[in-house]
């Protein structure tokens, strides 16, 4: 897309932040069943990356995927309706937090299986390009995912076939409760090098920095370059999943959490705006989310009789389970 646009970047970061905070409230209120994996603290990555993409470019997210879906341009109201399991949701209430998808804006879906999306995205980008679309793709994943063989196979396939995929590793230091040092032998960048892929590390708390490295990589890819990897160093401000709000798991020292939270992408992006402009954005975001919550909660719950709708794209109907 275009160059630096601090206002737009801030807006996206702020939108994701407040979306997540409201989603957590809705979890607490019992409106979002099953909980969520909050993206709090990592907003700068999705915002920065997607600011460097076009609408036609393709993206896959993760279990911690709200930020990716929103930053790529999905409607927050329909996204929230999805989390609330309403027919007005992006996936008609069938997907929920971990499967939210919006093919209309190039989001092939969040994905609940760690490491699974990379090869899917690679295939999708390849096919679109075979059809003549000059697109690139981005697949987000965590530091835990770099230990999944299926993702490493995707690195190889994308590099071998020179499919322009940006592999964005959101290194928040933990896979659930496992620190990255306890799980990753070698380095994350080294995993890219293994397949001849360039890799660069970036401060994931600074959306502008993320946008810049992404834009540079995307430009190289659009000019015919192969896949690349970006390791965005970040910190997860909240729980791995909202279930941790009930059950305290002891794995991050409080000082570390405090230090991690001290570099807040909202503040970093916000400081680049005139305070008055920032306040305006905040108000606009709030208004949008007020409306989104209202929209979400007003949406009808799906009819149980439609439980198997969309199971088969071919129109096949499944035998039901009754006696």
């Amino acid at each position: 897309m275009t160059g630096s646009d601090p206002l737009r970047l801030y807006r996206t970061v702020r939108l994701i932040r407040r979306f997540e905070e409201r989603a957590i409230e809705l979890v607490r209120a019992g409106q979002i069943v099953g909980g969520i994996h909050p993206y709090l603290g990592q907003e700068g990555i999705a915002a920065g990356v997607c600011a460097a993409l076009d609408r036609e470019d393709l993206v896959t997210g993760t279990h911690r995927g709200h930020g990716h879906v929103l930053a790529k341009g999905a409607d927050p109201a329909r996204m929230l309706a999805e989390l609330c399991g309403r027919v007005t949701g992006l996936n008609r209430g069938r997907g929920g937090s971990m499967h939210a998808a919006d093919f209309g804006v190039g989001v092939l879906g969040a994905n609940a299986i760690v490491g699974a999306a990379g090869a899917i995205l690679t295939g999708a980008v390849w096919e679109r390009r075979r059809r003549g679309a000059d697109i690139v793709g981005v697949t987000f994943f965590g530091d835990g995912a770099v230990n999944e063989g299926m993702l490493l196979e995707a690195f190889n396939l994308a590099a071998l076939w020179r499919v322009p995929v940006l592999f964005v590793c959101e290194n928040n230091g933990y896979a659930t409760t496992m620190p990255v040092e306890g799980a990753v032998a070698g380095t994350i960048a080294g995993r890219a090098a293994a397949f001849g892929m360039p890799a660069v590390a970036v401060d994931g708390q600074d959306p502008e920095a993320v946008r810049e490295v992404t834009a540079a990589a995307v430009a190289r890819m659009r000019a015919g370059g192969g896949p690349e990897l970006v390791e965005a160093r970040t910190y997860r401000f909240d729980a791995h999943h909202t279930f941790e709000h009930q059950v305290r798991l002891d794995y991050r020292p409080p000082e570390e959490v405090a230090e991690g939270r001290s570099r807040d992408p909202v503040d970093i992006a916000g400081a680049r705006l005139d305070p008055a402009v920032r306040a305006e954005v905040d108000a606009a975001v709030e208004a949008e989310l007020d409306a989104a919550v209202e929209y979400a909660l007003a949406g009808p719950h799906p009819d149980p009789a439609t439980a198997l709708d969309h199971l088969y794209a071919s129109g096949l109907t499944a035998r039901t389970g009754g006696g």
Binding site: E82, G93, T177, L249, L308, G322
Partner: protein, 321 residues
């Protein structure tokens, strides 16, 4: 004895077996801090050498367990999600299961795979809500689905002691059960149990559905005498125990939270009709064919077998014949 929760029964089984036998080790993701609330306290008691928190490398750590077993260990592998069994299907089915025969009996692979929270967890949607026990019954890996805290303890103990691979499904729908357990004791693999005697119809129920079947049987008590049979182990199945029951009642209904086609309910019906003359056509209540659980709670529930469906199936079976 105090009331024991299903989860703590699993914890106790692990702790007891680890204490009894040095060869037992536990592997899995976040087991250090017991994120799944099953391995609680084990790290402290047995140390990091025997409680190995793994990277997100399911295929590698599953095969690692196979190798450790070949060298004398009795590993227990915890999986956070039932569908992770798809990801390691190759490692279990094509390796762990096949090694003894392929080597002509040179080795054993005593690994236990535990899934705490199989089936729907309500709100975890399509990729976290599978109940794929029939897959393992098909390939012939010992498969247990304990319904009660006592069985969770006793079957997990027996699984760990078994010289073959065993998959233990701990249904999400049973994990929060509590019961007075007077006697923590191994439960033999391959032996079912009549949970409620009855004369008119045998209801075979799997896992957490045993409790639904008991509730339905109670509700119907005025109309019919319903026997509830809990197979506990789906493979190898306690055919003799079931034949005994069905021979008495002459009628069969199966309720099972797996997909319908090629599921355990179908297997039960097929094997029974091959051997026992029934007074009425058998029936089953299952998930639909090819089920994927939709996210919205009402849809999620709609895809699982329900008490109403079971009640209807029993009533129809009683009318038939």
């Amino acid at each position: 004895m105090p009331r024991l929760s299903y989860r703590r029964a699993l914890t106790r089984a692990l702790a007891d077996e680890m204490a009894r036998d040095e060869s037992v080790v536990v592997l899995g993701e976040d087991i250090r801090v017991a994120a799944a609330n099953v391995t609680t306290g084990l790290l402290k008691k047995f140390g990091p050498e025997r409680v190995r928190d793994t990277p997100l490398s399911e295929q590698a750590f599953t095969s690692f367990a196979t190798g450790a077993a070949l060298a004398g260990a009795r590993p227990v592998v915890e999986f956070q999600i039932p569908s992770l069994l798809f990801l390691v299907f190759e490692q279990i089915v094509n390796h762990a299961h096949k090694f003894p025969l392929m080597t002509g009996g040179q080795c054993a692979v005593p690994v236990t795979y535990v899934v705490p929270g199989s089936g729907s967890r309500t709100g975890w949607a399509g990729q976290h809500s599978d109940h794929p026990y029939a897959l393992f019954a098909h390939v012939g890996v010992t498969t247990v689905v304990p319904a009660t805290p006592a069985d969770a303890y006793g079957l997990l103990v027996s699984a760990i002691r078994c010289d073959d691979p065993v998959v233990v499904f701990a249904p999400a729908g049973a994990l929060d059960l509590r019961a007075d357990v007077t006697d923590l004791t191994p439960v033999p693999l391959g032996r079912g149990i009549v949970r409620r005697p009855g004369a008119d119809v045998t209801v075979v129920a799997v896992g957490h559905l045993v409790h639904d079947a008991l509730a339905v049987a109670e509700e119907l008590a005025g109309q019919a005498s319903v026997e509830v049979f809990d197979p506990r182990t789906l493979y190898p199945f306690d055919w003799d125990g079931l034949f005994e029951s069905v021979s008495r009642t002459g009628r069969l209904v199966v309720v099972d939270d797996g997909n319908r086609s090629c599921g355990i309910a179908g297997e039960i019906i097929a094997t029974v009709v091959e051997r026992v003359r029934l007074a009425a056509p058998p029936r089953r209540v299952t998930r639909p064919d090819g089920a994927v659980l939709p996210f919205a709670p009402a849809l999620d529930r709609a895809v699982q077998p329900g008490r109403d469906q079971l009640t209807a199936a029993i009533q129809l079976t009683l009318k038939d014949g």
